[in-house]
């Protein structure tokens, strides 16, 4: 579950104002809106990169508003992956699992098991995004935030990744908030949130 209650924040000249919504446990919601409407800022608030100036943020029933990112159990897949360049693919995926190997199962599910021993510098943009997704899923987060995380994948790979994500979500019951501009990404979503100028304009079920 992700819940924002009257959340506001100011970052430089930009701010979010009085954002409130609830995404139930195990649901997949998409977040859309024009550029600079506050989508990434909202994800950063939920993940703990920035702290709100007002309001509360709940993740899986726990008030995480001022908790450090490492205890929130909130996974994040940035658009550009931010894979650690000094580690190979396997070690990137296993980064958050303290030695427990989850790389084989996850990489098989997303069709990247052949990349496990590759250095990340040799990956394409789409491969990087899938590795970043596996890395975020590896420590079994309660909440997963996707920031245009499939933008470099072609249509076929994108729908395969979304299907695999939906299967994992069914097994593990984590909640997904997915920033995307693509209508096709709403196929597995239960709700849509729309942002504009730092405010939440609309929340509707799909």
């Amino acid at each position: 579950m992700i819940e924002c209650r009257n959340v506001s924040v100011r970052v430089g000249n930009f701010g979010l104002h009085d954002v409130s919504f609830v995404i139930p446990t195990g649901a997949h919601a998409v977040l859309s809106g024009p550029t600079a409407s506050g989508k990434t800022t909202l994800l950063e608030l939920i993940a703990g990169a920035i702290m709100p100036t007002a309001g509360r943020i709940m993740a899986n029933g726990t008030d995480v508003t001022f908790m450090p990112p490492e205890v929130r159990r909130v996974g994040l897949v940035p658009q550009h992956g931010y894979l650690f360049p000094h580690l190979n693919v396997r070690r990137n995926i296993e980064y958050g699992t303290a030695g427990k190997s989850s790389a084989d199962d996850l990489s098989r599910g997303f069709g990247i098991e052949h990349l496990l021993d590759r250095p990340v510098a040799s990956l394409s943009g789409g491969e990087r995004q899938l590795v970043a997704l596996c890395r975020a899923l590896s420590p079994r987060p309660a909440v997963l935030l996707l920031d245009e995380s499939f933008s470099a994948l072609d249509v076929a790979l994108r729908s395969k990744a979304l299907r695999e994500l939906a299967i994992l979500q069914g097994d593990r019951e984590f909640t997904v908030l997915h920033v995307t501009h693509l209508e096709s990404d709403t196929s597995v979503a239960a709700a849509r949130l729309e942002m504009r100028d730092g405010t939440l304009q609309q929340v509707r079920s799909l």
Partner: protein, 245 residues
């Protein structure tokens, strides 16, 4: 024109003094000076890295009151003449100050000892380390650290597992520049410790006692020694420019 002005005197020095390098390397004073130089420069570099890395990291990442003041303090030794730096350290460690007398009570003499050489080298070269290390840390996008924290790392473990390994080439470059600067230091060292002699002081000593002829082989050896870290630096930079991230 400037390139010629920079290169020709050094080339001339190596060409004219090069023949004497073999003899210089059999000279007991030279061997002792090389040993003293390398050991003290290495200790000074280690101390600069140990104490300078947290400062460089804080300056590259954190916004805090007094940040500009700390940056100015770190840069200060670059702006003052090196003999003046030596005199300043001499004042600090003299038996007339509380700090100096405490050191003497602890049995640590600074003036005229390798400790004095390390202090002088550290004073003049640490700013270079902090400046280069700060750049190395700044090149690591802080979003890598944040992603590591969403994967369960504390800020310290994110630094240890992500930022440090990603900055390590830049930090190694910083250490090499610091070491090379420490090896070539003369002005501050000569004020604090004429003896035991480092190579730069030995070349000056030979110049004042025996003239250019005696100083040349020592000076040429110092130039050749200085080329080693330069080559290491070039190799590191070449590696980095060929490293796709």
């Amino acid at each position: 024109m400037l390139l010629l002005f920079l290169a020709v005197p050094i080339i001339l020095l190596v060409v004219l003094g090069g023949a004497g390098i073999g003899g210089a390397l059999r000279d007991h004073d030279m061997i002792a000076a090389l040993e003293t130089t390398f050991v003290t420069a290495t200790i000074a570099t280690f101390l600069a890295a140990l104490c300078g890395s947290p400062i460089a990291y804080a300056l590259s990442r954190a916004k805090f009151r007094g940040r500009a003041l700390i940056a100015a303090i770190v840069d200060l030794p670059l702006l003052i003449p090196h003999p003046v730096a030596g005199i300043a350290i001499l004042l600090l460690v003299s038996r007339d100050t509380a700090f100096g007398s405490t050191l003497l009570d602890m049995g640590l003499r600074v003036v005229g000892t390798p400790a004095g050489i390390v202090a002088a080298m550290l004073f003049v070269s640490a700013p270079l380390y902090v400046s280069a290390a700060r750049e190395a840390f700044a090149r690591v996008d802080r979003r890598y650290e944040f992603v590591a924290r969403t994967l369960g790392d504390t800020s310290w473990s994110a630094f240890r597992r992500v930022t440090f390994p990603m900055a390590r080439r830049g930090l190694a470059s910083a250490a090499i520049v610091t070491w090379a600067r420490a090896v070539s230091e003369f002005g501050a060292v000569v004020v604090l410790a004429y003896n035991p002699k480092v190579v730069s002081v030995l070349s000056y000593d030979r110049f004042t006692t025996g003239g250019l002829r005696d100083a040349l082989p020592i000076a040429a050896t110092l130039v050749v020694v200085s080329i080693v870290p330069l080559l290491a630096l070039r190799a590191l930079r070449y590696d980095r420019s060929n490293e796709a991230v």
